[in-house]
């Protein structure tokens, strides 16, 4: 193992590598932001989808409120006697109003508005419920009954979420590739700047690993410095976005508390980038030195 010896001069203002921590900060910021978006989307969607799992909404429409309510009561009784169904509950007018309020506005839901009656039913965890059979079963009580297990639009949502996740992942890969290119460029530029020093070290018997070590240590520090800066900016951005989303979506969607646990994996980003920077610098130096005698 070659001894460690930082023979490189301290960074001067004109050196290209002086900008490297800034470049790394931006790269960590972007990648952590995309990763955080992807993670939050994933966990949020999973949580939401699992809350809809095993739930079916029965909707009964009609002109006459009292008529559809009596049909709803009959359907409720019928469903309660059906195997595989855990609970059946007719939503109250207040509950339906609360669901419509974000879309129609407070106080706009009048009695003459043809609001359907809705039944929320929960199937047993281990039961398979044939939705078509169930619909035929309840249709004997009303022609205007619709069953929805959310599967169709949930699958569209799954596709959208997957596409967003894959896109975020591709962007992450591109950011990593760009980071590697920046480090290669920075390393080569620094080697050109210190060509004389490297040549002298080389001629005095310094092994390639000794020269590479000086570079990798220095570049690792650039990576950590930039990475930590980028991470702080990312967390700040996510927090601000989180507060904004919370304010905008109040009442529309239930927003959980700030996802510290989900985002804790982002803490690894600066160290991962520092390692990547260190490794790239080392490989670049060794390859460049390999061209010398």
């Amino acid at each position: 193992m070659s001894p460690s010896f930082d023979f490189l001069p301290s960074v001067k203002n004109r050196e290209a590598t002086k900008l490297l921590p800034w470049a790394m900060a931006i790269m960590v910021y972007l990648s952590a932001l995309f990763a955080a978006g992807s993670l939050l989307l994933h966990s949020g969607f999973d949580e939401w989808a699992s809350s809809l799992q095993g739930r079916v909404t029965v909707q009964i429409t009609g002109e006459e409120k009292s008529a559809i309510m009596s049909e709803a009561l009959e359907i409720q009784d019928e469903l309660r006697g059906t195997p595989g169904i855990k609970s059946v509950r007719i939503l109250s007018d207040e509950e339906i109003s609360a669901l419509l309020e974000p879309w129609l506005g407070s106080g706009n839901i009048t009695d003459n508005l043809p609001v359907p009656v809705m039944i929320d039913l929960e199937t047993s965890d281990d039961a398979y419920v044939n939705l078509d059979a169930l619909e035929s079963q309840v249709r004997q009580y009303s022609e205007n009954v619709y069953l929805d297990d959310h599967a169709r639009w949930l699958s569209h949502f799954y596709n959208l979420a997957n596409t967003i996740e894959y896109t975020a992942f591709s962007i992450l890969i591109m950011i990593l590739a760009a980071s590697i290119c920046i480090v290669i460029f920075g390393t080569k530029s620094s080697m050109a700047e210190h060509k004389k020093t490297i040549e002298i070290m080389h001629l005095m018997g310094a092994q390639d690993h000794m020269i590479a070590k000086a570079y990798q240590n220095r570049f690792m520090i650039y990576g950590i410095k930039g990475g930590l800066g980028g991470l702080v900016l990312t967390l700040l951005t996510i927090y601000i976005l989180f507060i904004l989303i919370q304010n905008i979506s109040e009442g529309l969607v239930e927003i959980p508390s700030f996802p510290f646990l989900t985002l804790s994996s982002l803490l690894l980003f600066p160290f991962f980038f520092a390692f990547l920077t260190m490794l790239t610098a080392r490989v670049t130096v060794l390859r460049e030195l390999g061209r010398m005698v």
Partner: protein
């Protein structure tokens, strides 16, 4: 080290030719042999190939053809991983000094020891002693930009000899110093030579060559002529340590 090489040549060139970028050969079919503990001058007009020969000697280049046997290995074909260890056995005084501008005189001289993994206190003691010897005791912390040409040259020489190399190569080592310092530095080279270091000094200074009287490797348009010295190395200095003129 020298003992183990007894009976073997320390360095041997066998029909070595060298050119740059596939151009014409600047060294043509050069063959010579250096015994351990020998001292030679490398002479010849500008453009004769002295610098190219030195580059081959300090392993900065590989020859186009031929063999270079150094420390018992053919360095022309040795894998590059082996070369750093061999380079550590060679001290070089470059004509343009090649001091590291961001390091002080003492740090520059300590460089070969640090590369070899030497420890701090031992290095400093050794380096300060040598810098005092070359008359730079008061200039140890000075940076190359603060040193005169002669001072830089002395730092470069101290750096080349600090590890007591097996081979010392010097390119015009007395070119920038006054006659008194030149004599002092030559004394250092001769003393090192007496301790067993093989020395090759490239120079244009015919006065110096005839004063020391060591054999010459003389280059003319890339071809080497070996010229015997006027006296054996043991006679370079008198009993008082002065040059015999």
């Amino acid at each position: 080290m020298i003992k183990s090489l007894k009976g073997l040549s320390l360095l041997e060139f066998k029909n070595v030719s060298m050119g740059y970028n596939k151009g014409h050969d600047v060294l043509k079919d050069v063959s010579f042999k250096l015994e351990p503990g020998s001292m030679h001058f490398l002479t010849g007009p500008s453009g004769a190939g002295k610098t190219s020969l030195l580059k081959l000697l300090y392993l900065a280049h590989r020859p186009g053809r031929g063999e270079i046997i150094m420390f018992g290995r053919d360095v022309a074909k040795s894998p590059r991983e082996e070369l750093p260890k061999l380079r550590r056995r060679i001290g070089v005084v470059f004509q343009d000094f090649r001091l590291l501008d961001h390091m002080s005189a003492v740090e520059n001289v300590a460089l070969p020891l640090r590369i070899a993994g030497g420890s701090g206190a031992q290095i400093n003691e050794h380096v300060e002693e040598l810098l005092s010897w070359v008359g730079l005791k008061q200039r140890m912390q000075a940076f190359p930009s603060e040193l005169s040409g002669g001072e830089k040259q002395r730092v470069a020489i101290a750096r080349a000899v600090i590890r007591r190399p097996d081979i010392l190569l010097a390119d015009e080592p007395t070119g920038n110093v006054d006659p008194e310092m030149a004599e002092r530095l030559m004394y250092l080279f001769v003393e090192l030579n007496k301790l067993g270091t093989t020395i090759v000094i490239a120079t244009h200074d015919n006065g110096l060559v005839s004063k020391i009287g060591a054999p010459r490797l003389h280059l003319e348009t890339g071809k080497l002529l070996y010229l015997e010295g006027t006296r054996p190395p043991s006679e370079f200095l008198n009993q008082d340590g002065e040059f015999k003129i």
